[in-house]
Structure formats: structure tokens, C-alpha cells
Amino acid sequence: MSCLTLSQTATLRPYLNAVRATLQAALCLENFSSQVVERHNKPEVEVRSSKELLLQPVIISRNEKEKVLIEGSINSVRVSIAVKQADEIEKILCHKFMRFMMMRAENFFILRRKPVEGYDINVQTQTGGLRHSLHGGDRQRDQ
């Protein structure tokens, strides 16, 4: 890959730590049924039906090319990642690889099928999904 200058490697650790801390703050979710349709449970960050359920979206950028957008809400979080693509060939490789994974999004559970405008890949999760992964499974089939 492209060789990293000293300043580049120096920003990697703080960048990852900043993203981790922000995710820790944003991943405070609770189960919340839809206010618009009864008996439905939708990820509010996708539906965006009510302003009071959404958090401020924040960006953490390492430089102009690499950044992470974290949009939170009461029951779901969407993380959009812009991967560094230094030249044409990396752009093509990144695009193909992301497309490969996103086409199989159903198996990944937390992947979104289409990336948000300006980013390369999206990770989205809702309360139920978190409970399964973090706490080793709660056999009830909730959303």
C-alpha cells in the first residue's frame, strides 16, 4: 500500500480512540416502538420520523479523506465510514470489496445495503441486535 509518513501513523491511535469513545457514547440504546405506526419497531435513524428521537450527527475525521460519521437515535445507530483511497486502483478495489460485502448484508446483520452519500460503507445496528452480540444472546425474538 502507500507508505505512511510519520505524522500519518501518529494520528491513527488518537483517531481510533476518538471513534471508540464516541461510539461508546452513541451506543446507549433502548427499545422504542414506532410512534407513528402501532406495533411496529423501526430503526429511528433510518426512518427519521420524529426530531426528538434523533441525536446530533458527529463526524470524526483523521484527514480530508478519512472520516467516520456517527448518527445516533434512541434505538439505533448508523456509522458511516469513509475509507482512504489514495489512487484509482485503490478506489476500484475499495468499491468492489464494499459492494461484495454489502450485497451479502443480510448475512452480516449490521451492514447496510447502500452507503450514505459521501461514504463507503455503513454499519447500522438496533437495540435487539446489540443484545444478541454484546450479552451473548437473549433467546427471545425481539427486534
Partner: protein
Amino acid sequence: MSKLPTSARFRRVDVDEYDENKFVDEEDGAENQLGPDETEVDSLIRQGNLIEALHVVLKNPPINTKNQNVKDRAEGLVLKVLTAFKSSDLEKGVQSLDRNGVDLLMKYIYKGFERPSENSSAVLLQWHEKALAAGGVGSIVRVLTARKTV
């Protein structure tokens, strides 16, 4: 089908607008929030009194104003002060702030991330680390849940 004598205009009414429980952001009028004083901050930076410059630039945050220019100017000023700090002085700068100051600093840091330039992200990442150490995850949560941003 014959036209009904009564008007059907009621069908075009957006019922959701009249819902009493509908959430409306409270509008706290602009209240002459002009943002930090540019000349004062500049002179403090030139004198090298960076901690004081940090305090001054965090006063009067343009939180309630809808004027985008004021917000941009404030953000530019804060970024100037943050870049002027030497890496070894970051910690002292953060320690000198009270809790509201740390929260406000976090808000400005995230605002600064939105427009990355030459070296700004590297500086902001360092500030983020120190502010996180001082404010904890709580300061980030307060940035995420704030209804009015800087």
C-alpha cells in the same frame, strides 16, 4: 359521480401539524450572541497567553443564533487558538476549564472535525484525547444530545 355540495378541503389538512404532543424545538431568540471577540483573542495569541485566549474564545458561544456566519467565525477563531497551543500545554489548557468549558470545547472539537483542513484533524484529535480525559464519555454524550449546537 356528482360533485358533493360540501367542500372536501378538510382532506388536505395536515393533521400531524395540530397534534398537541408534537415536539417543537424551543426557539430562544438570537439574544445578541455575537461569538467570541476576535481582536481580543488575536492579541492574546500574539502575547502568547494561550490559556487566557482559550477562556476568552469559549465565552459567548453562538449557540442560539441562526446566523451561520457568526458560527463559522467563532469556529475559525477557536480552531486558531487550539492550533496555537503547544502539545505539552494541551493538558494544562484543558485542566483550566470548568465542566461547562470542557463540554463547549468538545462541541467545538466535533464542529472542527466536520471541515478538515491541512493539519486541523491531527490537532483536534490531540485535543479530543485530553478533553475526553477531563470530561469523560459524559461530555461526548452531552454533545450528542444537545438540541442547539455551536
